[in-house]
């Protein structure tokens, strides 16, 4: 959670100061919060919805919600955990929307994500493979994994993304999702088993 190379405690203190400044009327403090967390939120959204445009839409909506409700933020919890909670809920709503489900039934034929060499997803992937062949293999692996995630239920997706991709602890996931510890462990175990079944013989 410390992308800037800072200690989590220092990062959290800094975010608290920014939030207080924003609530005091400093609009730029919110911009600093966005710049710090935009990639993390965007990645969660992308893994949740599996589409670059939808991920952008969900990530923007997440920050708009944060902007509107930041005055209600309780400083007792971590801002990043709260941000994850907002992002996951936004993505869940997106996945449940009729428009998203209708679009998922349509197969893009011009630029399927992850298939074309110049695809948007490929361009934005951090630390690309050194050779084109390795990039192609990596993109194929990415596609398989994302496909397996997309087959999960939204709740299972959320716990897998938060735990195995974002690396949150059980306690943080409990705070972000509202599940109790037993429910979280059960959901995570079931989701992992489903992924294993789907990825058996592929990876």
């Amino acid at each position: 959670m410390n992308e800037d190379g800072k200690q989590p405690g220092m990062e959290q203190q800094e975010e608290t100061a920014w939030i207080e400044a924003f609530l005091a009327g400093d609009r730029s403090a919110f911009d600093r919060l966005v710049l710090r967390h935009k990639d993390r939120v965007f990645n969660v959204c992308y893994r949740m919805v599996g589409d670059y445009e939808d991920a952008g839409d969900c990530a923007q909506e997440t920050f708009v919600k944060v902007y509107r409700s930041l005055k209600d933020f309780r400083f007792g919890s971590s801002f990043s955990t709260w941000l994850y909670a907002v992002a996951v809920n936004t993505c869940k709503n997106k996945l449940k929307s009729s428009e998203y489900r209708r679009r998922k039934k349509m197969i893009p034929i011009d630029d399927p994500p992850g298939d074309s060499p110049g695809g948007m997803v490929a361009r934005e992937i951090e630390d690309p493979a050194p050779s084109p062949l390795a990039q192609l293999a990596e993109r194929e692996r990415e596609k398989i994994l994302q496909g397996a995630i997309d087959d999960l239920a939204p709740e299972a997706r959320a716990v897998v993304v938060l735990r195995d991709i974002e690396g949150l602890s059980y306690e943080e996931i409990v705070r972000a999702t509202g599940y109790n510890m037993g429910t979280l462990k059960s959901k995570l175990a079931r989701a992992r088993q489903q992924l294993r079944e789907k990825l058996k013989g592929v990876l």
Binding site: K38, G56, Q60, V121, E124, L145, I165, K185, Q193, R196
Partner: protein, 428 residues
């Protein structure tokens, strides 16, 4: 430990969330069961693959897009707030069915009124264009007053103020106007009063309407026999000249007389048109008389040209029209001691009798406040009797009516006839 149970613990085992005892038992099972060990390796490979996924970065202009969206959301929120406050202030939501029912009821009422107006317009096509105003019904100033009571004493009945009178209205185009030549009130002699008998009749020049029947307005000129005491104004005027107090003859003391007459009612029981006429006329407040005089200055000037200065009368005042209830019989009319062949009282009785004989009804009779003589008659008459009725009127006096009067009787069963009595000016 069963394999299925061990598989359920693999997730916690990978995350290190098992207690030491459970972890040791799982490891013992994995050492003995190759299948479960393979499953664990597959699961770990999947999790490792997920953890190795590259992070998808947000677009470079992500912050700008977020800010644009915040601005848009702020505007939408403002619009939403305004819409909620201005357009939907009700906290109690009206059911859609109730709103639809109310709208349907309004539509039905609107269509019903439109149909009624259309029926009225189609019923009056033969009369030419309708006046733009709604003809006002002349209401009785005092409800429940009988004809006889209204004639006994003018002191008993309150004089209406000009505000109570129906306002002057433009004539109805295409209708036979009555009182077109009615001069305005002015200090005049007996002859002048005969020529201008009813200043108070000015409001009645507005045609009254009776719903459901076509209205015919007539002016009946009642002839005066040469040298005879006939008619309303002449008989009254002569009587007034002889009977009223001396000071009343002095035109300069007209206002003074009126003030006195207003305070001195005529002797009770004296049913005579003379004194009451003076009293009634003089009982009018000055302001009303002034108003009446100012109503038509040109007509006043015309009337003054024929005035005998010596017999100048107190100015007739603007008074209220008295109405009789419908169906009043001629016997209700007190006999005038000077009733002659052309007396309006007799004319009124004859017309009433004819109307009743013809199957019609007399709606109302209006009397002049100045002269107390019959001035207007409103009756309903079967259309088939119109010709006979007109002939009857012509035998009584001169009927001032245009040629197209007869056409008004076509297509209807009942006519409302409004007859205005005028005394023809006596000429030597």
């Amino acid at each position: 430990m069963e394999c299925s149970h061990v598989n359920e613990l693999f997730s916690d085992y990978i995350d290190g969330a098992l207690d030491a005892t459970t972890r040791r038992r799982v490891e013992e099972h994995l050492a003995a069961c190759e299948s479960c060990a393979e499953d664990l390796r597959a699961l770990q490979a999947g999790i490792s693959a997920l953890q190795s996924l590259g992070r998808i970065l947000a677009p470079a202009d992500f912050l700008d897009r977020v800010n644009e969206r915040i601005e848009l959301d702020t505007r939408r929120s403002l619009f939403r707030w305004l819409k909620e406050k201005l357009l939907f202030p009700l906290h109690v939501k009206i059911p859609l069915e109730a709103a639809g029912l109310a709208a349907a009821a309004l539509l039905v009422v609107f269509i019903y009124h439109g149909a009624q107006q259309g029926a009225e317009l189609s019923g009056g096509q033969g009369r030419g264009p309708e006046p733009s105003y709604a003809p006002a019904r002349i209401e009785a100033p005092v409800a429940g007053k009988s004809e006889r009571k209204s004639e006994t004493s003018s002191q008993e009945r309150p004089e209406p103020t000009p505000a109570q009178l129906p306002p002057p209205a433009p004539p109805a185009p295409g209708k036979v106007r009555m009182n077109e030549a009615t001069p305005s009130p002015a200090p005049a002699s007996v002859a002048a009063q005969a020529a201008a008998p009813a200043p108070v009749s000015k409001p009645t020049s507005k045609p009254t309407s009776v719903e459901g029947a076509r209205q015919l307005q007539l002016v009946l000129l009642i002839p005066q026999a040469k040298g005879a005491t006939t008619g309303l104004a002449e008989s009254n005027g002569r009587a007034e000249e002889s009977d009223r107090p001396k000071e009343a003859r002095d035109s300069t003391s007209a206002f003074k007389l009126k003030k006195k007459a207003a305070s001195e009612p005529p002797p009770a029981g004296k049913v005579s048109p003379e004194a009451p006429s003076v009293a009634r006329g003089s009982a009018m407040p000055y302001q009303m008389q002034t108003d009446g005089t100012l109503h038509d200055r040109q007509a006043t000037k015309d009337a003054l040209s024929d005035i005998d200065e010596k017999s100048a009368q107190p100015a007739p005042s603007l008074g209220a029209m008295r109405h009789l209830p419908a169906g009043s019989k001629p016997t209700d009319v007190p006999a005038s001691p000077e009733t002659k062949a052309s007396d309006p009282w007799k004319v009124l009785a004859e017309i009433k009798g004819f109307v009743q004989t013809a199957g019609g009804t007399v709606e109302s009779v209006q009397y002049s406040d100045v002269t107390s003589q019959p001035q207007d008659l409103m009756a309903r008459l079967p259309a088939r009797s119109l010709e006979q009725f007109l002939d009857h009127l012509r035998r009584i006096g001169q009927l001032r009516n245009p040629a197209e009067i007869r056409s008004l009787a076509s297509g209807v069963e009942t006519l409302t006839v409004h007859i205005h009595f005028e005394l023809a000016q006596a000429r030597q």
